[in-house]
Symmetry: C2
């Protein structure tokens, strides 16, 4: 059974259904599960004794919110997160997630370029499955900086600036070391051959997802995706 | 460093602070983390090959909501939960948590007495740290039934019908095999000497809680509490 890859439209429809009255999920709940699974995938991949300092780059939407939740869980797992969150829409949910991090004294930084020498790993939580079109300022420069850094990058759901269906068109994005696909991988990452986890999964969409081990909220699908290629 | 036990008043104050504007948590988030940690503690204690059928008894408040979240995670961990939820206040959050379980085809039952021979384990999510006074119908009979069953019982936060500070006054409650204290144990469970986990923890209240292992959301404090006695 091959893994299913989602079009942008199907990914959006699943998201809407989960949060419909019939699905019953709130955005708070889904974001908590998503961010937790991202943090768990990082824990499994990047030993905290070597990769303790994690720079979390958050975008303006829900992908950025997932990053804020992941920051809090990484802190509790023993990492030392730093958060770069240059555009903060006045949405109550995001403000609350920021407050939760601030209460733990997780540092927020305004200057990305200073951070590369001060971190061991980057979590890319800039754009998710609803991204399309052009990357606008200030994110164009941020993507450029991430393309140039030598630090390993872990991406949430889709590498930022990749087309959700066509992938890294014209090489405009960077290639992360690890990807945590949420719900199911998107078409655009079919060619991605790094470490690949799947998280935040509801098992009702016939996505051919293998059972989760134990109580984990993520599963390593690196080999499954490699078989497919 | 001895574990701290909370008075009812302090437990309520911590809960209010977490959900205040300063704390930043939503009830959805906290309930998701609480229910997940309860499910994880059950997974660690009760082998799913022997205790696959879990009857989840949900009360009318947030303890019952924790039980509904735990039911969903137990299902994903490979258990076969059954839910008994006799009083359902028309609160949107609870209705959504019910819908999430119904979408997974987790059975709801109206008849408790039929269930004892059809389950291997009971999750007591009836009353939590805000319980006080007398147990009213139909829960008086339910507590009586739980006192008589031979099935092992795991309790969420405090064994239902125990006084939050004075414990099992006049033996009116039952004695669970396992307890999952949330945030920190309450004064009333100081004498509880069964299996004891701690879950849903925010580490800012100086509660002398040992670090969590790995990415777990629970920690086994059975021996810590025994040392204390």
């Amino acid at each position: 059974m091959a893994l299913k890859y989602l079009t942008q439209k199907i990914a959006q429809t699943i998201d809407e259904e989960l949060m419909s009255q019939a699905g019953g999920f709130s955005i708070d709940q889904l974001m908590e599960l998503a961010g937790f699974s991202v943090a768990q995938a990082i824990f499994r991949t990047y030993d905290k004794s070597k990769f303790s300092r994690v720079l979390i780059c958050c975008g303006p939407g829900n992908n950025g919110g997932d990053g804020l939740v992941a920051a809090r869980h990484l802190f509790h797992f023993g990492y030392r997160p730093n958060i770069f969150y240059p555009r903060r829409p006045p949405k109550e949910l995001y403000q609350r997630l920021v407050a939760q991090c601030e209460n733990l004294k997780i540092p927020f930084t305004d200057n990305l370029s200073d951070q590369f020498s001060r971190n061991d790993l980057i979590l890319d939580a800039i754009f998710g499955f609803s991204f399309s079109g052009e990357v606008k300022a200030p994110f164009d420069q941020i993507i450029q900086d991430l393309r140039e850094t030598k630090l390993p990058i872990a991406s949430v759901d889709i590498p930022s600036a990749w087309d959700v269906e066509k992938g890294n068109v014209d090489g405009r994005g960077f290639i992360p070391s690890m990807l945590v696909s949420l719900t199911a991988p998107k078409l655009g990452v079919k060619q991605f051959d790094g470490i690949h986890f799947l998280g935040e999964l509801e098992k009702k969409y016939g996505l051919n997802i293998p059972p989760y081990p134990g109580t984990d909220q993520v599963i390593d699908i690196t080999n499954l995706t490699k078989e497919k290629l």
